[in-house]
């Protein structure tokens, strides 16, 4: 167990280091002078030089990199070029939107997908299975931004039950905040739920075909009982793997949905920072997200151990 932990920690550190270096180098060779982007096409050369000096962009690359990494290690992420405020503060505010949104979406998607997948597997090739599979197919095919616009048109514009977008802020209370996150969460959860339903269905079907389940049935367990006691638990491993991937994706990959609902989340911050060549925000954000992916993978691995005791033995052995 501690071995696994140590391995994971080493992987985390190595990933973060490699990410920081790659991102820094990529941003350094990309065209686009941050000072010019900040000041626009009307700016004079001496103004640009003054701003470059203020931002430290006239220092050697290696010095800029070391300063930044040194700051990262001491928890100082530096100051955004364009926003002129601490990067940690910017990211902190955005995490408060993106993290709850991702959790909300994954909860919704799981709540729909696992029962639907299990039912479809249990009723293999019957009407329920065919119905669920068809819905899952549609869910995968529908682009989530389009679904999001339908949700806005119906629930915000026509019915007026929810805001068309924006984030109320946690200061306004938990309910208004959740209210502004509900439509985006549904829009994000639907395609995820569709994928997860199919994974769950095929995982349960596979387990149902295995020897121990057949043995259990032979010993007189009903199909339902065999499903509950033996199949579902064993089928969870691929399901949890997919959920882990989906969570990492949701944390950063929601740029489109954040735009449709104009939510101030991490995805939009990253997008905006790249467009404005706010290098220090891009670097810090990418390293942070890489860290989040590694941590999620670690949690997924731990979950395997909880689900399947045999793996626990394998780790100890």
């Amino acid at each position: 167990m501690s071995q696994l932990l140590a391995k994971r920690l080493a992987a985390l550190v190595a990933t973060l280091f490699a990410t920081s270096l790659i991102v820094f180098l990529v941003m350094a060779v990309l065209p686009g002078d941050p000072a010019q982007i900040i000041l626009g096409i009307g700016a004079q050369e001496d103004t640009l030089a003054a701003l470059r000096h203020e931002l430290g962009l006239d220092r050697p690359l290696i010095e800029q990199y070391l300063l930044w990494v040194g700051g990262l290690l001491t928890g100082d992420l530096g100051e955004s070029y364009t926003y002129s405020r601490p990067v940690s503060e910017l990211i902190g505010q955005r995490v408060l939107v993106s993290l709850p949104l991702a959790v909300f979406a994954i909860l919704l998607s799981t709540a729909i997908a696992i029962p639907a997948g299990v039912v479809a597997a249990a009723k293999h090739n019957k009407a329920a299975d065919i119905g669920v599979s068809a819905l899952a197919q549609i869910g995968i095919a529908i682009p989530n931004f389009w679904f999001a616009m339908l949700l806005i048109l119906f629930f915000a514009v026509t019915l007026g039950w929810f805001p068309a977008g924006g984030f109320a802020g946690w200061d306004e209370g938990v309910l208004p905040a959740l209210r502004s996150l509900l439509l985006p969460a549904v829009a994000l959860a639907l395609p995820q739920a569709a994928i997860l339903t199919r994974v769950t269905r095929s995982a349960v079907l596979e387990v149902l075909g295995e020897d121990h389940v057949r043995t259990a049935r032979a010993k007189g367990l009903t199909r339902g009982a065999a499903l509950r006691r033996h199949a579902v638990r064993n089928a969870l491993i691929p399901v949890v793997t997919i959920m882990g991937l989906q969570f990492s994706f949701l944390l950063a990959g929601t740029i489109v949905i954040e735009n449709v609902f104009y939510l101030p989340g991490l995805g939009r911050l990253l997008f905006q920072a790249i467009a404005q060549r706010d290098l220090i925000v891009v670097q810090s954000l990418v390293v942070l997200l890489a860290g989040a992916v590694v941590i999620v993978n670690f949690v997924v691995d731990l979950t395997y151990l909880v689900i399947d005791p045999r793996l626990r033995k394998a780790v100890h052995g």
Partner: protein, 493 residues
């Protein structure tokens, strides 16, 4: 009995009708497409900064009003010496910054000295270049001495880059702006919104609104939905022109089409063959069908222009007829220039839709006369690096949104690579001329030279489609400066 009953009913009805009037709205939410990078107009060129704080939070000695005219602001009056070199400003009484300190002549001196300083990051440092010295004669009097007579000096002082700031708060204005305006800053949640509220200690006419919120909504579809759901009350510059007919048909909304300072041009690399040949540039000008571009790329919004000047300006001359749309003439000119079979060139397009959509149409139009364009879509950062700074382009499309920026054609190292001593001479005369009519004559002459030289493909003036709640009044239709001046905005019921 009956009568009192009727009376009571009348009172009730009247009360019912008067209730909504008592609860008249005093808060206001405006949608913004671009978020300002920070809130200090003296340290950044981004239009989005002025769109929030100009005239609302910060004020200058003078201001530019909704018609583009110069008006007194913090300076209630001024005198100009006969040689045009000394400006004496008298400041308004009782002006306080939002932190409670008095605004005096010393603050004006501090602001202008800071903007002119060696290490200044004021994006429009050139505005202050003609200033020799700034003196605070007494707390209410500022004397500015110029190096040479400067015709547009009072106009320049009305720019957002010249607003008056206090020495104590100048460094923190980016995050927490402290000005003298009728609104004071409340909060900014990056990526989401900026809120300002009525300044109870304002020196001038108080505003009608108690609170104003700028909500950042970059996506056109989201902007449409936000207006329809009445989450926002107004978009002064609405990003989805395709949705305008829907709003025009809806009585809840007012739709206006204002003009901006944005000359949208097919920028041409005048220093690079074959574009250094006047006949080639004239051929391009003849090959462009402006109305087709406006209809196809801008849903019909925009005013054709024939030179680099805003049509709403009093000195504007309509030069769209200089080289009318005539593909045959274009082909003939190309043949005369030595390209009977045309030539190939590149067209670099930055992200705004006027450029991307307009570029497709231009490529088609020029293709018909034999100029085959390869379209290269570029990001904004790449555009600045390659086209604007590196002059590494043949043709590109961009909107020049600075007010009164005809002077860029006289800059020795500008990306058009255009050099005409006659034009520069006019610009020098213009800079020194203070008489309005004579200034207008010079501006007309300058427009004509640019049109004749076909320096760029002059396409259209960017429109400013505004959509807002029909119960609102006082918003600006046009954009003589890139501001959302809320000082006269009120709800009518």
């Amino acid at each position: 009995m009956k009568r009192t009953g009727l009376f009571a009913a009348l009172v009730l009805v009247a009360a019912a009708f008067s209730l909504p009037a008592q609860a008249a709205k005093t808060d206001f939410t405006m949608g913004l497409v671009l978020e300002p990078p920070h809130l200090d107009p003296t340290a950044g060129a981004a239009a989005a900064i002025d769109e929030v704080v100009y005239a609302n939070v910060f004020e200058g000695l003078t201001r530019i009003d909704r018609n583009g005219e110069v008006k007194p602001a913090l300076a209630k009056s001024w005198t100009i010496s006969d040689d045009g070199l000394t400006y004496t400003f008298t400041l308004n009484d009782g002006v306080k910054f939002h932190d409670g300190t008095d605004m005096t002549a010393e603050d004006v001196k501090f602001t202008l000295d800071r903007a002119m300083a060696e290490d200044s990051t004021n994006a429009q440092k050139a505005l202050f270049e003609p200033i020799e010295t700034v003196e605070a004669a007494d707390p209410k009097t500022v004397v500015i001495t110029l190096k040479r007579p400067t015709g547009h000096f009072l106009f320049n002082l009305g720019w957002g880059d010249a607003v008056i700031v206090a020495s104590e708060t100048a460094e923190t204005n980016k995050e927490k702006p402290v000005g003298t305006g009728p609104f004071r800053f409340v909060e900014w949640v990056p990526g989401d919104h900026i809120t300002i509220e009525k300044n109870p200690d304002y020196w001038g006419n108080p505003v009608a609104l108690d609170k104003a919120t700028f909500k950042i909504i970059p996506d056109p579809a989201a902007a449409t939905a936000a207006l329809l759901a009445e989450d926002v009350d107004a978009f002064a510059n609405f990003p989805a022109p395709e949705a305008l007919p829907q709003f025009e048909a809806d009585p809840r909304f007012t739709v206006v089409s204002g003009s901006t300072e944005g000359e949208t041009i097919l920028s041409t690399n005048n220093g690079k063959p074959p574009f250094d040949n006047l006949k080639v540039r004239q051929a391009i000008a003849h090959a462009i069908d402006r109305q087709a571009i406006i209809d196809g790329a801008m849903f019909g919004l925009g005013t054709p222009i024939g030179s680099h000047f805003a049509p709403h300006h009093p000195a504007y001359v309509d030069l769209t007829g200089t080289y009318p749309y005539d593909p045959e003439k274009a082909k003939a000119l190309l043949a005369e220039a030595g390209f009977p079979d045309g030539f190939e060139a590149t067209l670099k397009l930055p992200p705004p839709s006027y450029a991307r959509r307009g570029g497709e149409i231009i490529a088609d139009q020029l293709g018909k006369v034999g100029i085959k364009l390869e379209i290269i879509p570029v990001e904004w950062a790449q555009w600045l690096e390659q086209a604007f700074k590196g002059k590494d382009y043949d043709l590109t499309i961009v909107s020049h949104t600075e007010p009164m920026d005809i002077g860029i054609y006289a800059r020795p190292d500008y990306y058009f690579d255009y050099h005409n001593p006659k034009f520069n001479e006019i610009m020098d005369k213009l800079a020194a001329e203070t008489d309005t009519q004579k200034r207008y004559d010079l501006m007309r002459e300058a427009q004509k030279i640019l049109a004749d030289d076909a320096v760029n493909g002059f396409l259209f003036e960017l429109a400013k489609p505004g959509v807002w709640n029909a119960k609102l009044e006082g918003l600006w239709e046009n954009s003589p400066v890139q501001a959302n001046d809320l000082t006269e905005v009120r709800w009518t019921e």
